[in-house]
């Protein structure tokens, strides 16, 4: 019996073989040495019909508990938001979905223009002039930014905050290792979490390629000294790289307005589902400077005209930076990226518009404020652990003696709530602490429920 994805039936295949004078299918595989030819079928489960696969996968995935069925306070690099129905419906348009990279601009104007719009929207959001068509995720974007800064400056040191996500730091280490870059962690102020400016200044010299900060930081507080950090970096000729949650930029000052040379971040919250942490969308933007432009990694879409100069059109540009032309001297090995996630981000940003994005950011911040207020009032809990302004995430410390943060979370889960991400393993110095995230998905009732459950979990009276 034929398979629905393989149109040519056994009969057609015989006919084709006859037409090209080949006796059998096996004859097409004689070039595979006998010694390595498989003589049995692969050991895989029996093929299923579409209905059976649907039931099988649904049943398997039904063992998951989605955050749509249980209040969850997880963020930390991917953040749950509502994806408007039309965003998904548009990115599922099969002309977008089933296309390859737009190598042939004449037949790919739709994807090229959508990506140009994405780049343009990211530039507006970050106050940068140039954005690429996406990196894999925030972490790899940090890695690529470090490599780019090293190429631009000819220097090797990459200064990063001690309080950055340990996963992103681990990825950075792997990207930095090849050309021998040296990531150096910068100390922070114990009470505020802020980057220690005097230690930063002491560590800055002409070996430093870039200073990287995250704003909002991984632990949710805002870095308030960004102007000083930018100045200090620029004084020694280092570049200033800023990592962002793009939703925060509806409310917060754009990195381009406080001296950033390169902006990276995680674009998932812009219209893409959390999806267990992938696909993600690495944001990458920079200032308009020929020195930087030549060294950007990844695909970039540019506007041009038809050959007669009359009509506007879009095409991939600056390809001489890329692997298929420059090979081992390319600015990066990336080719497949996260284009469709970028299109979703473009549609999402367009849908919210300037006022919608501002309102959304305010809702997230207000929810976090309210959660901080409620949780901070509970004996045995401390929130936030840093005395600094926060956006939509914050660290919550369990001060109840002998109560491990995992136990605290387990007690929440028993009450039908997914707590924050325990960060004791990443930052043992903060004790029994978890990172919580609030977005527009959370209702006031959800936060009240969290507070009630938390009070029960620490056994406190309220």
């Amino acid at each position: 019996m034929g398979h629905p994805y393989i149109p040519n039936t056994a009969e057609t295949r015989q006919q084709m073989l006859r037409e090209i004078g080949v006796a059998s299918i096996d004859e097409l595989f004689v070039d595979i040495p006998k010694k390595i030819r498989l003589t049995h079928e692969l050991n895989l489960p029996q093929a299923m019909s579409e209905l059976e696969v649907k039931r099988h996968v649904q049943a398997m995935l039904s063992k998951n508990k989605p955050f749509t069925q249980m209040p969850s306070f997880l963020g930390g690099g991917v953040w749950p938001h509502h994806v408007p129905a039309h965003v998904r419906s548009l990115v599922q348009r099969s002309e977008f979905l089933t296309a390859y990279t737009p190598y042939q601009p004449e037949v790919s104007q739709g994807m090229l223009q959508a990506l140009f719009e994405y780049q343009s929207l990211i530039c507006e959001l970050t106050a940068m002039d140039v954005a690429n068509a996406s990196m894999y995720d925030w972490a790899t974007a940090v890695g690529e930014a470090a490599l780019m800064c090293a190429r631009v400056t000819g220097r090797r040191k990459v200064l990063v905050p001690e309080l950055m996500s340990s996963e992103r730091y681990a990825v950075l280490q792997n990207y930095a290792a090849g050309p021998g870059l040296e990531p150096v962690k910068l100390d922070y102020d114990w009470s505020t979490g802020q980057l220690d400016l005097s230690k930063l200044r002491a560590g800055l010299n002409e070996d430093v390629a870039c200073v990287y900060v995250e704003n909002p930081s991984y632990l949710g507080f805002l870095e308030t000294g960004v102007d000083e950090i930018a100045d200090a970096a620029h004084k020694v000729g280092a570049l200033f790289v800023v990592g962002v949650n793009p939703i925060s930029l509806g409310l917060l000052k754009a990195p381009g307005d406080y001296g950033a040379d390169i902006v990276v971040g995680e674009g998932q919250p812009l219209g893409n589902p959390v999806s267990f942490g992938g696909p993600t969308l690495g944001l990458f933007a920079c200032r308009d400077d020929p020195k930087l432009l030549r060294q950007i990694p990844g695909r970039i879409i540019g506007m041009t005209t038809t050959l007669d100069g009359k009509a506007r059109g879009y095409t991939m540009v600056l390809q001489t930076r890329e692997q298929h032309i420059r090979r081992e001297r390319a600015t990066s090995n990336i080719c497949s990226n996260e284009a469709l996630c970028a299109v979703a981000a473009a549609i999402y940003l367009t849908s919210l518009g300037p006022r919608g994005l501002r309102e959304l950011a305010e809702i997230c911040a207000a929810n976090a404020s309210y959660a901080i207020e409620k949780l901070g009032a509970i004996d045995g809990l401390e929130a936030p652990i840093f005395n600094a302004p926060h956006f939509n995430e914050f660290a919550l410390r369990c001060t109840q003696p002998k109560l491990k943060i995992e136990k605290f979370n387990a007690a929440l889960l028993k009450q039908g709530i997914q707590g924050g991400k325990p960060i004791r393993k990443e930052f043992p110095e903060f004790g029994e602490t978890a990172l919580l995230c609030l977005t527009e998905l959370h209702t006031k009732a959800d936060i009240d429920r969290l507070a009630d459950a938390a009070a029960k979990a620490v056994g406190a009276k309220r």
Partner: protein, 503 residues
């Protein structure tokens, strides 16, 4: 069959940019009410302006629908883009990946609340390991090139553990550009080995190229000429003989499913392109997924975490206790949404189905090869005595020499027939290369139409080259000034506005 792509246009442009649409005050999304709570963010940190478009939902839907109509995917028609395996992408996979139980789970959720996701990853890993003949598979990489980068990190960790740092990676001259770039990113020097007259790795040259400095050989098999490296066992012996590793670039795995396995050929590290071989859509550039498989001796170096099954507690868990791991190459655990689609595909195909995929794909490629060999204007530069695998590389050099028409124009003219261009000018060892990969999801009639189109184009080259040089005309837009696009780059709406203001 006639083709005319949709074209929404005014005089000076196709569909306007989204920034040129809408009106102040419109919005395309609603939000829940804000709860009253004091947000303590100092005024100095608050943004003053944000210029985003303001459109209503119907305007947005119409704009992006029009853009999609000016794009071309596998669902639109034949897409013989060599080495990209543009096969049909099953719709059921999309439905499953969009389930709330897949799309709305967070990577840091308590393990007991994501058992289904972990089970799917665990089983997908086992299936991929079986398909490639390797011990373990890491699902983290986001794309093939990302997998190559991980492969190089694994090679480095392996050699380091043996107490010897190695400095060189050997790559054939027919290899994908990413191989060179990935090796360089991981800090290796690239040594190139030439192909022989049969279009395979030159064994003698390989012998000379490898040494105690060789960390790995990166090889695509079938190679980028669509030919099986039939001396693969000798190649493996040579590389392993100097203590190097063999890396398998999985771009062309569709040519050997169920027929042979990289692990059986002697490869130590293997990457898969789920967005090629396993039918997940390429999304106009991504997201993809590029899992990496390894043999037993490299298992301990794989990134963290790996999914393990605890048979006693009947629970899946994420294992971070891996002291020799290379660490991380991406946040979280991989492009899970893509993994769901690939898993659903494998479950629908089964072992026999996957073997038939390769048989049908290889037959389709050979059918094109044999039929096109008779057509004046095209020729095959390397071995044509035996079969090709899933793709075939023709050269349009005769056409260029006889009638002055280059491969580039053949590719552009093909668009007018409602077909996507093959990959062209790659691999670089073939002059005027046209790299054609039909895949198994094309019926014979479509292949016949393609062959007829290439014949017609050759006739045009001979009799009416003008028509060819003006192509394409059936697309939303004609040929673009790509030189100007890179020389005077306009990369954003702001840059465009500045440009217009200066002009």
């Amino acid at each position: 069959m006639n083709y005319q792509q949709a074209r929404w246009a005014s005089k000076e442009c196709l569909e306007p940019l989204v920034f040129e649409l809408g009106k102040a005050g419109r919005r395309g999304a609603t939000l829940p009410p804000k709860i009253p709570a004091g947000v303590k963010i100092p005024e100095s940190l608050i943004r003053k302006e944000l210029e985003l478009p303001e459109l209503s939902e119907p305007e947005i839907v119409r704009h992006y629908t029009r853009l999609s109509q000016m794009n071309y995917g596998v669902d639109s028609g034949f897409y013989p883009l060599g080495s990209c395996t543009m096969k049909y992408n099953p719709k059921i996979s999309e439905e499953l990946a969009a389930l709330e139980t897949a799309a709305c789970i967070h990577p840091y959720q308590a393990e007991e609340t994501v058992q289904g996701a972990l089970e799917l990853m665990y089983k997908l890993e086992r299936h991929l390991a079986e398909i490639a003949g390797v011990a373990r598979v890491c699902l983290h990489p986001s794309a093939g090139a990302h997998g190559e980068f991980l492969g190089m990190l694994l090679a480095r960790a392996y050699h380091k553990s043996k107490g010897k740092e190695r400095t060189e990676v050997v790559v054939p001259d027919s290899a994908h550009g990413t191989n060179f770039a990935s090796a360089a990113m991981a800090g290796y020097n690239v040594v190139v080995v030439p192909s022989n007259a049969r279009g395979r790795v030159d064994i003698e040259a390989l012998r000379k190229a490898v040494s105690k400095r060789t960390a790995a050989l990166m090889l695509t098999n079938p190679n980028t000429l669509g030919l099986f490296e039939d001396e693969i066992l000798e190649i493996a012996e040579i590389v392993h003989g100097v203590g190097g590793l063999l890396y398998y670039d999985g771009a062309n795995l569709n040519g050997i499913l169920g027929k042979t396995r990289p692990g059986d050929m002697g490869f130590d590290i293997v990457h898969f392109n789920l967005h090629k071989t396993f039918a997940t859509p390429h999304g106009g550039g991504g997201p993809g997924a590029g899992p990496v498989g390894v043999t037993r001796k490299l298992e301990k170096f794989l990134p963290m975490p790996v999914v393990e099954f605890d048979p006693k507690r009947k629970r899946y868990r994420l294992d971070y206790d891996r002291p020799q791991s290379v660490g991380k190459i991406k946040g979280f655990y991989g492009n899970f949404g893509v993994l769901v689609k690939a898993y659903a595909y494998i479950m629908q195909m089964g072992a026999q189905g996957l073997r038939e995929v390769t048989e049908a794909a290889v037959l389709n490629a050979n059918y094109i090869m044999r039929k096109l060999l008779d057509v004046e204007g095209y020729e095959i530069k390397f071995d044509q005595s035996g079969p090709c695998k899933h793709e075939v590389v023709f050269s349009a050099e005769p056409m260029k020499n006889k009638w002055g028409v280059k491969a580039h124009f053949v590719a552009k003219r093909l668009l007018d027939f409602g077909m996507h261009s093959p990959t062209y000018y790659f691999p670089p060892i073939v002059p005027e290369a046209l790299m054609i990969e039909p895949t198994e999801t094309e019926p014979k009639e479509e292949l016949d139409r393609f062959i007829a189109a290439l014949k017609e184009i050759a006739d045009e080259a001979k009799t009416n080259p003008e028509k060819l040089l003006g192509a394409p005309t059936a697309t939303a837009i004609g040929r673009l000034d790509e030189t100007k696009a890179s020389r005077e780059p306009i990369l954003s709406w702001r840059a465009y506005k500045k440009r217009v203001a200066h002009a």
